[in-house]
């Protein structure tokens, strides 16, 4: 099952959250798209970086 991939689940989760937040926080279409893209990248890339950061502490 494709949703067993945590990365894919993370991306879908970030996608939905970013859509809703972009519509709530911004009113103009261009601003919404910009906000969506930046928030999506922050969530996905941030989670990946934090995941690799935690990898350093595996004993």
């Amino acid at each position: 099952m494709i949703l067993k991939s945590h990365l894919f689940s993370l991306i879908i989760y970030a996608f939905f959250v970013c859509i809703v937040l972009a519509i709530i926080r911004r009113r103009e279409r261009k601003a919404q798209i910009r906000y969506f893209v930046s928030l999506f990248l922050i969530m996905v890339v941030g989670a990946l970086l934090f995941g690799w950061f935690m990898y350093l502490f595996i004993s």
Binding site: L3, I12, Y13, F16, V17, I19, V20
Partner: protein, 199 residues
């Protein structure tokens, strides 16, 4: 303490409360929601009172103040409408926006939050009930409760029991909790739109 003194003090306290009221800006922005008597008296945010007066006069001030406060806080059309939209938005994601004729926005909210909730169930996430044995689950309960009607439906249909053995359990639970929290924001957004704080 005489009756007149008591009334004077009550009036002073009510005026202080009123001037401190966070909704005073709305009375300036939307004076049409207030009766004329309230408009004349409250439009500057200050209520000029006479320091002295007959008992009947003071009593009439008190009664009028009470009526104005009661009217503003409980029967202001805009506020009733905004609370109704917020509750509708909480019951069904996006419904508050649809009632406010923001059709596309409401539809997108409905689709996104419903999809998140459905995915959470597919991923065998858990919907928490209120219980005090494990206090941390109370937070989960409040976030799940944000999904509104879906929460009660899933409890009735015995969905969202959660499968701890499944590798997707944590993600499923996060999806459901996230959908509930987002729905709180959506409902509050509908509240703000109805109050004309947002477009």
């Amino acid at each position: 303490m005489g009756l007149v003194t008591l009334q004077k003090r009550l009036i002073i306290i009510m005026n202080l409360l009123w001037t401190c009221n966070k909704f005073i800006d709305n009375s300036k922005k939307h004076p049409h929601n207030f009766p004329n008597s309230c408009n004349r008296r409250y439009q500057t945010g200050k209520l000029k009172k006479k320091a002295s007066g007959s008992r009947a006069e003071m009593l009439s001030y008190l009664v009028l103040d009470l009526i104005c406060h009661f009217y503003y806080h409980f029967y202001s059309k805009m506020k009733v409408k905004s609370i109704a939209c917020m509750i509708l938005g909480w019951i069904l994601p996006g419904l508050g926006h649809i009632v406010l004729k923001k059709y596309w926005r409401g539809l997108i909210f409905f689709l996104c939050i419903t999809a998140m909730f459905a995915l959470g169930l597919i991923l065998e996430g858990r919907i928490y009930s209120f219980q005090t044995e494990n206090p941390l689950t109370i937070l989960g309960f409040f976030s799940d409760l944000g999904i509104g009607l879906y929460y009660f439906l899933s409890k009735t249909l015995a969905l969202g029991i959660g499968n701890l053995k499944s590798s997707t359990f944590e993600f499923g639970t996060a999806y459901i909790a996230g959908a509930g929290l987002l729905n709180y924001l959506v409902a509050l957004d509908a509240f703000d739109i109805a109050l004309e704080k947002k477009t």
